[in-house]
């Protein structure tokens, strides 16, 4: 059993303490916007916020988030109105789209700390997240656009 906040709601989950947070989010809580990609923290598709920091949910045992506050892509905004989500649409970033929840969640913690990141800062921050379709340059453009509009 673990108790934590997810997207502003307190919940109790009946899961093994070692269960990866990723599977708890996806299959216990049915919040499937957070994706499974590699299971070893190499691709970033599973990125969520834990107490406001980007984290790989595939590497986080659910016991480690006891009492903490989690945000997933579903909780980033109620209606796709987060500046990053709007910028992602304006730049038409997604192709297959599978990595994009993780990309957006990752970018959100950059903008939370740094309102006006340079290109290099964006690249350094986003380098943890893979995209096989090759949308990287549009991701950079979308982060820059969102930064302008925040």
């Amino acid at each position: 059993m673990a108790t934590f906040d997810i997207n502003g709601k307190k919940i109790d989950v009946n899961a093994e303490p070692t269960a990866p947070l990723l599977w708890v989010i996806r299959e216990h809580l049915k919040l499937t916007g957070t994706k499974f990609g590699c299971g070893i923290g190499q691709c970033g598709t599973c990125t969520v916020h834990i107490d406001g920091e980007s984290a790989f949910s595939c590497l986080t045992p659910v016991a480690a988030v006891e009492g903490k506050s989690i945000t997933t892509i579903e909780g980033l905004s109620p209606d796709s109105s987060h500046p990053l989500q709007k910028a992602w649409i304006a730049e038409e970033v997604p192709q297959c789209g599978y990595c994009q929840s993780g990309q957006i969640m990752r970018a959100a913690t950059l903008l939370a700390e740094n309102k006006n990141p340079s290109r290099d800062e964006i690249v350094e921050h986003m380098n943890s997240n893979l995209c096989r379709c090759g949308t990287y340059s549009r991701i950079v453009k979308a982060v820059q656009r969102a930064a302008r509009e925040v």
Binding site: E27, G33, Q95
Partner: protein, 742 residues
């Protein structure tokens, strides 16, 4: 605006038509509705009935329009581009259009390039369905105009259409398509349409402009539904321990520790693996780690090693006494080589690569008690083959399979074969446990059971005559058949011509009077499958490297040499000139060098230039310029994104990616030892996609194949060392430069 309707429940199109009271349609073999009367005439049908003039479009009284999409979406964008063609010719208001993915195997919806299977591959969707969409949209518009004419009491010639309205300018009256449908009065027969009635390109409202892809909004908020996201009531999960070598089977399974794991419900032995079934994903994964399995040791693949394979393929490629199956032939290459003034030859090798689609493969199935029917949920590139393959697996008929095709977290060919292992897994496990089951492969499973771009070795011979003209190129591709493992029926029908292995080795670019590409058939050493760009990604590496070598052997500039060879191909010359202008081909760079290559894909053309340097033996790629010409461009922004994505994937494959088979096992296991390119490693990429007067062809695989040869050509120009091998990983590059040979 809700355009994306994916996931259960899907309405079978025919059921839908049947359930619409008053109108019954028979779908003819040509794909169009051939009869529309049963019982009451259509004109007297109740006003609430929608209008469905053909299988592709339905117009509702409330102005909603539904368009059927006979492909599947994996990021390429044809779920928007193809229905948009219909909407354009219907003069529909795109904001009120819903797109529905066809979920059945019905040749009426089929892709003519693939024997009317529903098959999303080869970047064919826009090309294959363009005219069908024109006809279907024009036909619906024609019916609406005729009905509006009788409703308004005016001549059809006085009416125009725009944004889902029929307009009578003379009286200022207009009727929305929904109002017209409500009013009935349609002709008893569906009108024929001919090309002269198609909307003129000059009048296009949507085509050629940046209409946003309909799948984008759902991909920024987590609501897009991928196969892995499916939730079916009462379902269990399964993790599979696969045989580490293809062709082996579990001989002894000790599942005692596995069954002690809380949440594990069953262990199911499969023909080529063992499934751990349970109530949670984590239970199945923990249980899988505790399996003790003894595998058989009898497969021929136990001897497979990539390094030996490439050598064996090389021997076959270079041994001219072994004749191959001609794939493409012009003139008489053997005679031309025999009579040549000078012959140049070279051999190129390419190692296997992995699809690395970001969504690990998965499928959900619910098999009936008797095992003879099933419902499946899966991201697939082919409704038809998924249904036929599932029917084969259950030894039942295709009509007993209900498919829910979901959006894909990447495809690149990985989800295209007849028998899809992940679907088989879900079917067999569901059959065994008599419950719906979602099978999720781990990344390690996805690589271990991967089906790769094949290893290949190619031998090239080129001949110049006494005047220094290139008179012959002989291209021998030593590689296995890929078609056979994708779909044995297609291979049987192909007469030895393997489009997957051989595409790109034909010469449609240059004026070379004698050319032959032949397939020297070899045994495969791993599972193989179509990989983005199919054969072009190694065949163009050989051809475009070789063209550069031929140019250099004559002391010619590689750009001028190609322009000269394209003197009968102004379309290609235009692409070449564009990319040369963008990159400023003739401008010298301090310490840096440019390399050029071209790579068409089917009828789409592209050319690319790379700028590199080598510092302390380390290859640095600074910039890539890419120009594409896919004919008429339906979606400019998406087309540029596709070409850029191809360059990114091409850079990744050329610089970083390698699958190694050792004693039948795949050496790599996850992204730490199979790294794909990251954002920080990316050079600047400049892309231009030209919209030209040719028919619209594909962009989904355009440009990838030119990346490898462009880089190898730049290295050769900069260092004098020709590397005839992909990938150009640091070990390969430093070894070649160190030794002075490729």
């Amino acid at each position: 605006m809700t355009k994306l309707r994916q996931g259960p429940p899907h309405l079978d199109r025919r059921e839908f038509i049947k359930s619409t009271a008053g109108i019954t349609f028979a779908i003819s073999a040509t794909g169009f509705i051939s009869a529309c009367t049963e019982g009451e005439p259509v004109a007297e049908s109740p006003p609430a009935d929608p209008l469905a003039p053909n299988i592709w479009v339905t117009i509702y009284p409330d102005d909603r329009i539904q368009i059927m999409y006979a492909g599947t979406e994996m990021g390429q964008g044809s779920m928007t581009a193809t229905p948009l063609i219909l909407a354009e010719h219907l003069d529909a208001d795109w904001d009120n259009v819903d797109v529905e993915t066809v979920a059945v195997h019905d040749t009426a919806f089929g892709n003519f390039v693939f024997a009317n299977m529903l098959y999303t591959a080869g970047s064919t969707n826009v090309f294959a369905y363009f005219k069908k969409m024109q006809i279907a949209g024009t036909q619906a518009r024609k019916m609406l105009v005729a009905a509006a004419a009788s409703q308004l009491g005016v001549a059809e010639e006085e009416l125009t259409t725009e944004l889902s309205n029929v307009v009578h300018a003379a009286s200022g009256r207009k009727l929305s398509y929904g109002e017209i449908v409500s009013g009935g009065q349609f002709p008893a027969e569906i009108p024929e349409v001919d090309e002269s009635e198609f909307k003129r390109p000059a009048d296009y409202r949507y085509l050629g402009t940046d209409v946003m892809r309909i799948d984008v909004p759902s991909k920024v908020n987590g609501t897009a539904e991928y196969g892995i996201d499916v939730q079916v009531p009462g379902m269990l999960f399964a993790a599979i321990r696969r045989t580490p070598v293809e062709g082996e089977r579990p001989v002894e399974v000790d599942d005692s520790e596995t069954l002690k794991v809380a949440g594990v419900t069953n262990v199911v032995t499969l023909p080529n693996g063992v499934a751990v079934v349970g109530e949670t994903v984590e239970a199945t994964r923990t249980g899988k780690d505790k399996l003790k399995i003894i595998w058989s040791e009898e497969s021929r693949f136990r001897k497979a090693n990539t390094a030996e394979q490439l050598q064996e393929y090389g021997v076959a490629a270079e041994d001219l006494s072994i004749s191959g199956t001609p794939w493409a032939e012009t003139g008489d290459v053997i005679e031309a080589l025999a009579g040549a003034d000078e012959v140049v030859s070279a051999t190129y090798t390419t190692e296997p690569v992995y699809h690395a689609q970001m969504e690990p493969l998965n499928a959900t199935a619910s098999v009936s008690e008797d095992g003879k029917s099933a419902e499946i949920w899966v991201g697939t590139q082919t409704q038809s083959l998924s249904i036929l393959g599932a029917a084969q697996a259950l030894e039942t008929s295709p009509d007993k399979i209900t498919l829910h095709p979901l959006t894909m977290g990447g495809g690149y060919g990985r989800r295209s074969p007849l028998r899809q292992q992940y679907i088989d897994d879900a079917l067999f496990v569901s059959l065994a446990v008599k419950k719906p089951v979602k099978v999720i492969w781990s990344r390690e499973d996805d690589i271990e059971a991967g089906k790769f771009r094949t290893a290949a070795t190619q031998h090239m011979r080129g001949a110049f005559d006494a005047e220094g003209r290139l008179v012959a190129v002989h291209h021998r591709v030593a590689a296995p058949t890929i078609l056979e493992t994708m779909n044995p029926m297609r291979w049987e029908a192909a007469n030895g011509k393997d489009v997957i292995t051989m595409l790109g080795s034909e010469n449609t670019t240059y004026d070379i009077p004698n050319h032959m590409a032949e397939h020297v058939l070899t045994d495969r050493g791993s599972r193989v499958l179509a990989w983005r760009g199919v054969g072009t990604s190694y065949n163009k590496f050989a051809m475009e490297s070789f063209i550069d070598e031929l140019a250099k052997s004559r002391g010619a500039d590689p750009f001028e040499f190609r322009m000269q060879l394209c003197h009968k191909n102004p379309r290609m010359q235009n692409v070449l000139q564009n990319v040369a202008d963008m990159a400023e081909w003739t401008r010298p760079r301090e310490g840096r060098m440019l390399g050029l290559a071209v790579s068409g894909y089917h009828r789409s053309l592209s050319a690319g230039i790379v700028e590199i340097s080598i510092d302390d033996g380390q290859l640095q790629v600074h910039k890539f310029w890419a120009v594409g010409d896919p004919g008429f461009v339906v979606s400019p922004s998406n087309s540029e994104a596709q070409v850029e994505g191809n360059i990114v994937m091409g850079l990744s494959a050329a610089l970083k990616e390698r699958i190694t088979i050792e004693n039948g096992r795949v050496k790599q296991s996850n992204f730490h030892d199979y790294p794909i390119i990251r954002m920080a490693e990316l050079p600047e990429i400049e892309t231009k996609v030209l919209s030209t007067e040719y028919p619209a062809t594909g962009v989904g695989e355009l440009g990838l194949a030119m990346v490898g040869p462009a880089i190898a050509n730049a290295i050769a120009t900069l260092t004098g060392v020709r590397i005839r091998h992909l990938p150009l990983t640091p070990d390969v590059v430093s070894a070649a430069i160190g030794s002075g040979t490729g």
